[in-house]
Symmetry: C2
Subunit: 479 residues, 2 copies
Amino acid sequence: MSGSDRRRRGTIPAHAPPRAGDRRSPDQRPYPWVDDGSAALLTDLYQLTMLQAYQAERMHEPAVFSLFVRRLPERRNYLIACGLNDALRYLETLRFAPDALEYIASLPEFHADFIDWLADFRFTGDVHAVPEGTPLFADEPLLEIVAPLPQAQLIETFVMNQVQHQTLVASKAARVVEAAAGRAVIDFGLRRMHGTDAGLKAARAFHIAGVAGTSNVLAGQRYGIPVRGTMAHSYIQSHDDEAAAFRAFARLYPSTILLVDTYDTLDGVRRVVELARELGDDFDVAGIRLDSGDLSSLAIEARRILDDAGLHDVTIFASGSLDEYRIAELLARAAPIDGFGVGTRMGVSSDAPSLDTAYKLTEYAGRGRTKLSPGKDILPGRKQVFRFFDDDGVAMHDVIARADERLPATPLLRPVMRGGERLPDGDVSLEASRVYAAQQRDRLPARIRALEPADPPYEVEVSNALRMHHEAVAAEAAG
Amino acid sequence: MSGSDRRRRGTIPAHAPPRAGDRRSPDQRPYPWVDDGSAALLTDLYQLTMLQAYQAERMHEPAVFSLFVRRLPERRNYLIACGLNDALRYLETLRFAPDALEYIASLPEFHADFIDWLADFRFTGDVHAVPEGTPLFADEPLLEIVAPLPQAQLIETFVMNQVQHQTLVASKAARVVEAAAGRAVIDFGLRRMHGTDAGLKAARAFHIAGVAGTSNVLAGQRYGIPVRGTMAHSYIQSHDDEAAAFRAFARLYPSTILLVDTYDTLDGVRRVVELARELGDDFDVAGIRLDSGDLSSLAIEARRILDDAGLHDVTIFASGSLDEYRIAELLARAAPIDGFGVGTRMGVSSDAPSLDTAYKLTEYAGRGRTKLSPGKDILPGRKQVFRFFDDDGVAMHDVIARADERLPATPLLRPVMRGGERLPDGDVSLEASRVYAAQQRDRLPARIRALEPADPPYEVEVSNALRMHHEAVAAEAAG
């Protein structure tokens, strides 16, 4: 191929797609979903080319990889680690199915002996990790993998995909829960999250971070998370008038929440009062939902209308473009709101929709490894994070140390998998993770839990032993 | 329940989670993935409660729902419609599996006759939609559903989830492709996208929007998208030195791309030159990859070093925190870059990670429906979008009209499903969608394709007939 041809075509070597005759119309493909059988292919091509190279070079010595976040987003004082459970499940079940092997074999780079080797691929390594729900900071490992180099390499993409997303949304949700100051927060985000897996996994991550329930029925089934819901505008619209819709819904669901903003919010509230008069002792409506307009003044007016009618038990639930900032503002204005439905902005972590997550080789064949790329430094070797608490049990600072150091503080990383088998610390129930997360968040200093950027930020030091090891490895790498 | 109890507990009626004894440890649950069999539960609880109410009230008349975006994000002049294929597949395959019915039956709201009705649930409606790849604007329907009210209601959450995500990322990718001005853009985003489904579906949406290839191997297998890749820093780090790593990789993959920034970028480029001298005629390396530092000055320096060594054929590929703004800036500085690997910022559409998508009832039982909530107006009834082109084939403006109007312009919505069965216009190959998207994007005015906010924005009018219908329906709703 000539250089100019190559330039026109783009720069990465072309792997021919399957011949046109091999392609079915996408809707006829049997599995548009990702499941255990296809997760092995949910990786970057370079993982497979590197694996084949490691095979060819007989590079099977143990490697240590560390997964961490390089910098926190501007509007985050801490992260809530999440996603370990799905990462471990992937490692336990990782196999190349026959159709996956067939596809890889169809790509021009791959040799038959490599495909044979892939057919027997299993993850047999060790994993150390912080429990789901642990508050964490920049540079601190969420998890470390110790495994033969090809195994530890291949899993990078999938493990990062799960851990970064779940940590991202758990960290956002912790702020929303903080802002709601004890009032219930319900996840309404499924419809605007990024695909099906995001919707399912975020519901779980939110629950760990303190969100009380979810509208997502599948998350209720899979994880036992309480499912919650009210009614949609379309229900009101499809009836001849709002009063008829309220009456019909309350007949079937006496203790429901009625959505009052379809036509005029305060008129809607007055219709709830009329329904109460009409039903008398049978009236048991739990609340109203406000979903648009100036929520704080509408909540104040609605509370007054309800209280004037003696409906002190009818609560006010608010939704519509909410996030931690908006909730804090509503409560600062003393809006009498009893619970919040939070959707898109928590669902996609809209003010910081990704984390600067990295998964980096820190040791190979017993030698520490680093990088010298600007801004992308790596702390070499296996590590431990020690958290120091004051006498009141409040976290003061962390020290990132070498794994074999023993500091007088609480170590955060635990062995969760050995030889490809999950250990008890890797098999924690959702409820236990949720309780643990709440306890650990309560032990953070108030300025770190706050919505505003913490000044000073939480202090994370590197131990002397790790610093010296880092300098030695960097000097060697620089040649 | 007393009011104060209710307030303390939060506000939405509690649906008890499964009893503790029913819960298995999450890792033992058989399907942590979403597949055809579990998609029916990937919905909001209120869809099911409303469905039961529609059952009880015998409300099965035809309904029209419209899916549209209320407002474009600030930094988008147009959208690229995407996600229709997955929406239609969902409608074709939607069934409640036995375990789904069992879970719903375990929730306190649902009656046995409703569960029986759900067991037979099928989508039997019609769908009109714009083809995937169509440039679209605020208020214009991406798709319209005509079906018995309960069917059209239930599908809201899932269809929105797929269409909003895929439209979001296709719209972002179109901007990145525009900025790259003919140079190849490769999707590197899987590791930081929101879960597995996002990674898979985004690769497809990107390809429709003009992205040349993806690192995502599963997307290669499922959709026939060309898969591409280079090498990771860990490959370099795991070798004793950079030269050894380059030599080994190029031996196995002669026309590979070598990553040069692990230690010192320009030293890395010089090592590629040394490798060329060493290999002589056997040297066939396709390019180098820059992944950190000042990409424009490094590209200029790297090009000089390569050209001085006669390596004019070795291309330069850039990656690392790229998006349309950064690419435009690099090319404005005349950086000699031949292709771009774009990851996180395109993968999560970082400057606008969600769209203000709505799925709204516009007609029921033959009567137009609207809402009067502030800022959340709805155009009633079935609609058509007509696009007017000038004599050069450039789009001038659109008119949103009633579905039965005939305007002298191109109608964008087509029937894609009838009676639950896909029609030919709903069964378009990925390649055809990609070609169509490129053609349609080429027909947009330059100011709309540009990265800066268009002044004036693209003009979208509402036809007189639709406006009059809207006013009549709104007057009726206001009572």
